[in-house]
């Protein structure tokens, strides 16, 4: 029988509506899962990340907020703040250019040696903090290799070529922070929808325009991730400003502490993190304005690398040059590891070499212990960061409504604070059992190190994971659920594998940073288990530069192994099945539809 439906009318269809409220019942199951998962995450973040950071806020208010007056217009703190922000913005731009450019070169152009270059490009991330700054001094400082070489060639005073002051800081920042962009953009490129590029070119956009108008905007999550990490870390950067005597806010914080004015130091730290958080919110808002999820139907075909001899040759030459510059500090460290202390005075290159530095290290029976401590502790922290970071990224991405921004701020908070501040907050929070730390006293146990690394570096995993997620079409998750996979399984079998690149990138950064972490380590590390960075610091402090650099070289060697391992882990399949070079930045498959 013809079941006649009411002919459509323009008025509202029916009165007898049971309107579903926004309550629990009205949520779709995946929404409910998001909120259910958010609870424990919020708890973990609160206890282990956020509350410890509140110590700073409280102590800044100890003298009734008086400390904030230092930020009155024209004051030292105010100029320092402006300088910090300026330097951070410049660092974002410079690191962004270098990192993204390199990512493009190494993932979109195919030329011999690309694989090796990919790993080398990551090495600057492995620079040990103090030694790293020193290596820049030996390279570009007033008496460094490059200025002296230039002097010997041109006869112009070496100091005219040297990087100093703000320029020096920016140099160090660019060289050490571009990996935040490099890794994020590489992962983003791997997940981008190739057909969009084709569409743009078909409509008449040449490569440059296509990049500017389509790929870059599509890479927004990756760029935002890189920009955020860079901005925050350069706001909190201390070694470089100290080295080049630039009076940033972090310098003010240290000065305040040295003079015993703890409320002032806390107030300055708080302002610093507020600026970082403001930047974070700005970036979130910016990213939220545009959708970057591929809306294509089906899975687009894989994009091939750029062909043609000329572009490939240019890319190869360009990359080699860029990488030479980037690897220079690393090489310098190795050079110094073999230098006889005190002999390198006025020469361009060290005049005398020795293996004594390594002999010293290895003749000590427990010399490998710092290496073991650092690797295991940062490994452990990395695992925890992956768990918490990835889940939080997922929750933030799938959260509908307001709370997402708060979660984001919560997890990024430690990244926005200077390392020492974080370290001290952790010690304060976990020194005695309180309800806020769930009765856990970590101070004095080996647990404190991975905890500190976790707190400091979970933002890295989180940001990168979030960037990858932003490219994934939720309909594949729906497909998995439709086929009977519950939310957790969907996450494990579908979403996670699609995020692999971002997660690996973030985890790598977290591990490598944990490996070289000094500022927080030194205030928390348990006696007898000095991490590598502390050992390096001690050698350097004792003016055993040679063996400090030898340790630094060992550290980089260890990290190099990890990088190679990660590279292998990521593409084991390709290795077997394809002749195409595979690596960190090569898409095994396209991310989705």
């Amino acid at each position: 029988m013809t079941a006649l439906a009411t002919p459509p009318s323009t008025t509202t269809p029916s009165r007898a509506k049971r309107r579903r409220g926004v309550g629990w019942k009205g949520l779709s199951s995946s929404d409910r899962f998001v909120y259910a998962l958010a609870l424990p995450l919020v708890a973990i973040l609160l206890v282990y990340v956020v509350l410890p950071m509140f110590a700073t806020l409280f102590s800044s208010l100890e003298d009734g907020g008086e400390a904030y007056e230092a930020f009155g217009a024209g004051g030292t703190a105010w100029t320092a703040l402006l300088l910090s922000v300026g330097i951070s913005l410049a660092s974002v731009v410079l690191a962004g250019i270098v990192g993204s450019g390199l990512a493009v070169l190494l993932s979109r152009f195919d030329f011999p040696g690309r694989r090796v270059l990919r790993v080398v490009a990551l090495l600057p991330m492995a620079l040990p903090p103090l030694i790293g700054a020193l290596s820049f001094y030996y390279l570009y400082g007033a008496s460094g290799i490059v200025p002296r070489f230039m002097e010997s060639v041109t006869g112009i005073m070496a100091s005219t070529f040297s990087a100093d002051g703000v320029a020096g800081v920016l140099l160090v920042h660019t060289m050490t922070m571009y990996p935040y962009f490099y890794l994020a953009v590489s992962a983003g490129l791997a997940g981008s929808d190739a057909s969009l590029e084709e569409a743009a070119m078909n409509l008449g956009a040449n490569r440059v325009t296509m990049w500017r108008q389509v790929l870059m905007p599509m890479l927004t999550p990756a760029l935002v991730s890189g920009a955020l990490l860079t901005f925050m870390v350069s706001m909190a950067s201390f070694t470089a400003p100290q080295f080049y005597n630039v009076n940033t806010l972090t310098m003010r914080i240290v000065a305040a502490k040295t003079s015993g004015d703890y409320p002032l130091a806390a107030a300055q730290s708080t302002v610093l993190s507020l600026v970082s958080i403001a930047f974070l919110l700005l970036m979130r808002w910016y990213q939220g304005r545009r959708s970057t999820r591929s809306a294509s139907k089906g899975t687009p075909q894989a994009l091939k690398s750029v062909q043609g001899t000329l572009p490939r040759t240019l890319a190869a030459v360009g990359s080699v040059a860029v990488v030479a510059v980037l690897a220079a500090p690393v090489v310098t460290i190795i050079l110094l590891a073999f230098t006889v202390d005190g002999t390198w005075t006025t020469q361009i290159l060290p005049p005398q070499y020795t293996v004594a530095n390594f002999v010293t290290i290895f003749s000590d029976p427990v010399s490998l212990r710092p290496l073991l401590v650092s690797s295991q502790m940062s490994g452990l922290a990395m695992l925890a960061s992956i768990l918490v970071g990835v889940l939080t990224a997922w929750v933030v991405a799938r959260w509908k409504g307001r709370g997402a921004g708060w979660l984001d701020v919560m997890i990024m908070l430690p990244w926005a604070l200077p390392g020492t501040v974080v370290g001290i907050n952790i010690v304060t929070a976990f020194a005695s059992p309180t309800p806020f730390n769930l009765g856990q006293v970590f101070v004095g146990s080996l647990w404190i190190l991975p905890l500190a690394y976790f707190i400091r570096f979970v933002p890295l995993v989180f940001r990168n994971a979030a960037a990858s997620l932003a490219q994934i079409d939720p309909s594949v998750e729906e497909a998995a659920q439709n086929l009977g996979a519950g939310p957790l399984r969907t996450l494990r079998l579908v979403t996670l594998p699609l995020m692999t690149r971002g997660v690996i990138a973030g985890a790598l950064m977290a591990f490598v940073q944990g490996f070289g972490e000094y500022v927080a380590s030194v205030v928390v590390y348990p006696a007898r288990f000095a991490p590598l960075s502390v050992e390096i610091y001690n050698r350097q402090y004792a003016n055993e530069i040679g063996s400090a650099f030898a340790y630094g070289a060992l550290q980089m060697f260890a990290i190099l192994i990890v990088l190679l391992l990660a590279d292998f882990l990521e593409n084991p399949r390709r290795r077997r099945s394809s002749t195409k070079a595979a690596s960190l930045t090569e898409p095994p498959t396209r991310k989705v539809s």
Binding site: M1, T2, A3, L4, A5, T6, P7, P8, T12, P13, S14, A16, K17, R18, R19, R20, K25, G26, L27, S28, S29, S30, R32, F33, S296, K297, G298, T299, P300, Q301, A302, D473, S475, V476, E478, A479, A480, Q481, N482, L483, G484, A485, G486, P487, R489, T490, L493, V494, P497, L498, T500, P588, T589, R590, K591, V592, S593
Partner: protein, 360 residues
């Protein structure tokens, strides 16, 4: 293996007009039911509510007696073919297809066998190890289909599953889908924009427009006795002529067309125009194939005269377009020597028993 009931279901995205506006559907156990309607009318949204990805703004959804309105998708045992395929790009073809079976803990050997069968059904034997991005569009769509079929779900949901296949493969595949569906008596909800497909496969069809249901019925009912002029126009080609109801008796309506021409139109019980009163607006629908080109010069009563504006060749026959007053008339002419030429004046005669009156 369960009926699907939508009870006054509405879905409204943000501040827009509702995408689905209070529809009632009762899909019987084992029925092959099709949602048909123009692009953007809310078909996919309805399907996604049945699958559980979209929670209705209001209304209830039942599988049999079970209220599933807020049951999560993975507990509904529905198999869905997504309009955009939603294949897992990190898995090869076979792993994609095997996914649902893995979730159901099917043994490995059985899994292999069923996957092979399913790939065979969609004509992709030998493609098991291909990466998804190495497939053509149609091949991807077929993988999506195999993935949904292989799990033998209790409700099968298909969102334009054949849109990217060629006519031949589409016919083969729809025959396959139909026979699998009949053998397993799986309740199926099929979304398509292709009326021929809907006609050929469905037990019943629901015609939607702008979130509303216009008609639910068997293919023949929908084609022959459209409830509204929208349905008449949307299902196949149709000529819908506006007019006024002059009078009615039990078996006929008399209608005056806007140009004064009088038509006698059959009337039935439950006519969708029963509510239309004398001297009110009404419309008359007639299919192109029921308009016979009688002669190039006839002016008989009951014939409609117009000038040919286009002739379109469609293989088996030609479709002739006539300018008839303000509107256009379509008439199907078997391919042959008698095809009128453009600009010729022709008369067409409706098959009287095929005239049908609809709400304007």
């Amino acid at each position: 293996m369960t009926s699907v009931v939508l009870d006054n279901v509405t879905k409204q995205y943000a501040d827009a007009a509702p995408s689905v506006a209070g529809i009632d559907l009762h899909i019987k156990d084992g029925e092959f039911f099709t949602l048909l309607g123009p692009s953007g009318c809310g078909k996919s949204t309805t399907l996604r509510m049945v699958a559980g990805f979209v929670v209705p703004t209001s209304g209830t959804l039942r599988f049999g007696e079970r209220d599933v309105t807020t049951v999560p998708p993975y507990k509904r045992d529905t198999g869905m073919v997504f309009q955009n395929y939603a294949l897992f790009p990190h898995m090869d073809v076979a792993t994609n297809v095997a996914f649902g079976l893995r979730m159901r803990k099917t043994s490995k050997s059985e899994r292999g066998q069923r996957v092979a069968e399913a790939l065979d059904v969609v004509g992709l034997t030998g493609y098991g190890e291909r990466r998804i991005d190495q497939l053509s569009g149609g091949q991807q769509q077929r993988v999506a289909l195999a993935r949904a079929l292989v799990i033998n779900p209790s409700v099968l949901l298909l969102d334009e599953p054949l849109s990217n296949l060629d006519a031949k493969l589409r016919e083969e595949t729809r025959a396959h889908i139909r026979s699998i569906q009949q053998a397993s008596a799986t309740t199926s909800l099929y979304v398509t924009h292709d009326q021929a497909e809907a006609m050929a496969m469905s037990d019943r069809i629901a015609v939607m427009s702008a979130g509303h249901l216009h008609q639910v019925g068997t293919p023949r009912e929908v084609y022959r006795r459209p409830a509204t002029s929208f349905v008449a126009r949307f299902i196949g080609r149709s000529n819908v002529l506006a007019g006024t109801l002059l009078g009615r008796d039990e078996r006929t309506h008399t209608v005056r067309l806007s140009n004064g021409e009088l038509l006698t139109v059959p009337n039935t019980e439950n006519s969708p125009t029963a509510h239309i009163g004398v001297e009110e607006d009404i419309a008359v629908s007639i299919r192109p194939e029921d308009l016979r080109v009688v002669s190039t010069g006839s002016t008989d009563a009951g014939t409609l005269r117009g000038r040919v504006s286009a002739v379109e060749y469609t293989g088996a026959s030609c479709t002739v377009t006539l300018n008839y007053g303000e509107t256009q008339l379509l008439a199907t002419v078997p391919d042959g020597p008698d095809i009128p030429a453009v600009d010729e004046l022709v008369s067409v005669q409706p098959a009287v028993d095929r005239l049908w009156s609809v709400a304007p």
